[in-house]
Symmetry: C2
Subunit: 407 residues, 2 copies
Amino acid sequence: MVNIAVLGYGTVGSGVVEVIDRNGGSINMKSGRDIRIKYVLDLRDFPGDRVEPILVHDFDVILNDPEVKIVVEVMGGVEPAYTFVKKSLLAGKSVCTSNKELVAKHGPELIAIAREHNINFLFEASVGGGIPVIRPINSSLTADPIVEIRGILNGTTNYILTQMDVAGWDFDKALATAQSVGYAERNPEADIEGYDATRKIAILASLAFGRNVDYEKIYTEGISKITVTDMLYAKKLGGAIKLLGSCTKQGDSYYAMVAPFIVGSDHPLYAVSGVYNAIFIRGDAIGNVMFYGSGAGKLPTACAVVSDIVDAAKHLDKHIYTFWSPEELTLAGTGGAVRSFFARVSGSPADCEAEIKETFGSVRFIQIDEAPGEFGFVTDPVTEQSFDENIKKIPGVLGRIRLESSI
Amino acid sequence: MVNIAVLGYGTVGSGVVEVIDRNGGSINMKSGRDIRIKYVLDLRDFPGDRVEPILVHDFDVILNDPEVKIVVEVMGGVEPAYTFVKKSLLAGKSVCTSNKELVAKHGPELIAIAREHNINFLFEASVGGGIPVIRPINSSLTADPIVEIRGILNGTTNYILTQMDVAGWDFDKALATAQSVGYAERNPEADIEGYDATRKIAILASLAFGRNVDYEKIYTEGISKITVTDMLYAKKLGGAIKLLGSCTKQGDSYYAMVAPFIVGSDHPLYAVSGVYNAIFIRGDAIGNVMFYGSGAGKLPTACAVVSDIVDAAKHLDKHIYTFWSPEELTLAGTGGAVRSFFARVSGSPADCEAEIKETFGSVRFIQIDEAPGEFGFVTDPVTEQSFDENIKKIPGVLGRIRLESSI
């Protein structure tokens, strides 16, 4: 028997209880233990609910109960989650969490405490909802250094972009619909401005490269300025616009970014639509690998948490090594990253074709019927810095979007 | 220090040596041990090669050396691999293998021996080349029973089908090209008739459902009868033809099959082209998950083998539990499986529209310019048995292909 305590009875917490109740038999077989939810912590009461008899309001009841071996933190936010998790680990209890803010901010410290106490701090659900990606990076992609990790990491923005692309809705309508069906929060800033994806790529990059990536140092652009016209240009180019979080090694430099990209139809991330997420990883020897699945949602996320509970129960007295050193991975400024750009310019190509070619060399011009009075062009790969400097020389520029893969 | 021996210095074996030589530093860090290749076993000599000083021709040298803790079997074929692997496990040496024939035929027995000796029998590379899928099924998808597993499991056939689709080549030309670029063997039967995929889906299904699936009992159809005209119909229907290996639970019955399917563009497997492989998994709570990557090739497969070596080195005295009981999973006859079918018929719909509608109820007719004098139709979901019986009533049937997902 292994007693666990669930901190937070919100969406994910109630999903964890539901999955354990529903699949108890197979979960117990796979963990080799009988897993029992001894406590659920929440400030609220839930009269008549299945958890009423085990609900507690005081974290110390859990902390001081030596029978509790695994604490499941699914409250979200940095505090009080950080305090509760740290106290749990220091008391010798393993912790499983879905909390990306907590992991991005305090991951290395909490991993180190778990290591010292020969217990585990596991966080599969903090990135990619139900997609197994943290554990595969840590225990399967071990033969070959990772050189690129790139993902669609936020279901809300991917849903909005997919609706704009497929239904032709503008951003505001797509956002309002996402809110009405529960895919976006009333205050959607963390999602649409990319802050959620930034924390997730920081976690993935820290694991992929073994050193701590500070999410506050990652250049971040959201999707609120993307228009249906941008979508139409992308489609004409044979691609689609996706919000990507990425960290890549180019030479000896590491570049990290969250921003909208035009992804070509030859890229496996192109077909990832709606609320699905996917994480694309590249190594020199292993080549391209991708993990795909439900990036959010109560039950998929709960399944990821429960897979960590199973792993923690299998390793009650054995630390599973996680390669995430507190030493900082120094990110290069985005200026040195090399890629192609798409730019929109008012007027017609004839007006400034010579100027653009003189500035950018070989470019590809593109026009769409839906946007008369303007045109677009795609550059060959250039550094971000050189693009930023050169684009200033072109009059009438309306906007620019980065390109992923060769279009 | 952990001494390992590599059995077989062919494509995968030389890849394993190359990956360990190239990435030794990070591999040692991730395994927490210094991994040293003490022997390579091969019947051939390799004068001047890096392995010349450690080459042995006699397996007993390896078997009788107590310093060898991990045996890496990358010879392929059932014998002598089975004898060598079994002897190694009985001698207390962990085994990592890429050998799908061995694993499909003797998996449960070898896992049981490893369990008795508190060592490990690992086989990540036996399915999906470099794609991490065996370990994720075993240690990540533990919260929710799997109800469907379905994959593009053979790179050769996927390359051929992609060339037929994209370049419009007929099967013979696509096969010849695959052979000339090294993606198909001179005797391609095991790939194109689906036998390779059958062993792989048997391994995956055994792990997904926890009981042994006998690959010899899986209904198998290859791709050698697929034509460019079939491809064109599939495209008009909004899909593409893929060779899928699948095992699904419908009610209380398990259905397994390897056969070409028309996969709709809304399905994540649709975009998997060329020599890439992917494995799609569905659970009630976790929803859809997919793992994608290089399904074959020297270095990707070698990376999967090396990830097993790392895991074996981390768990020298701890058995990693694998849920694959020797008890047989009884497969239902394919007759009861429910799906839609596409059928081709000579003549024009007007000739037998009434007959088809009377027999199959609601159907969708389709014609393509490239195939005058015939037409196709798509049925609503029916059992295989009912389709087989009813299609005999229609005169002039030219062929049929199963459908995956709603088109």
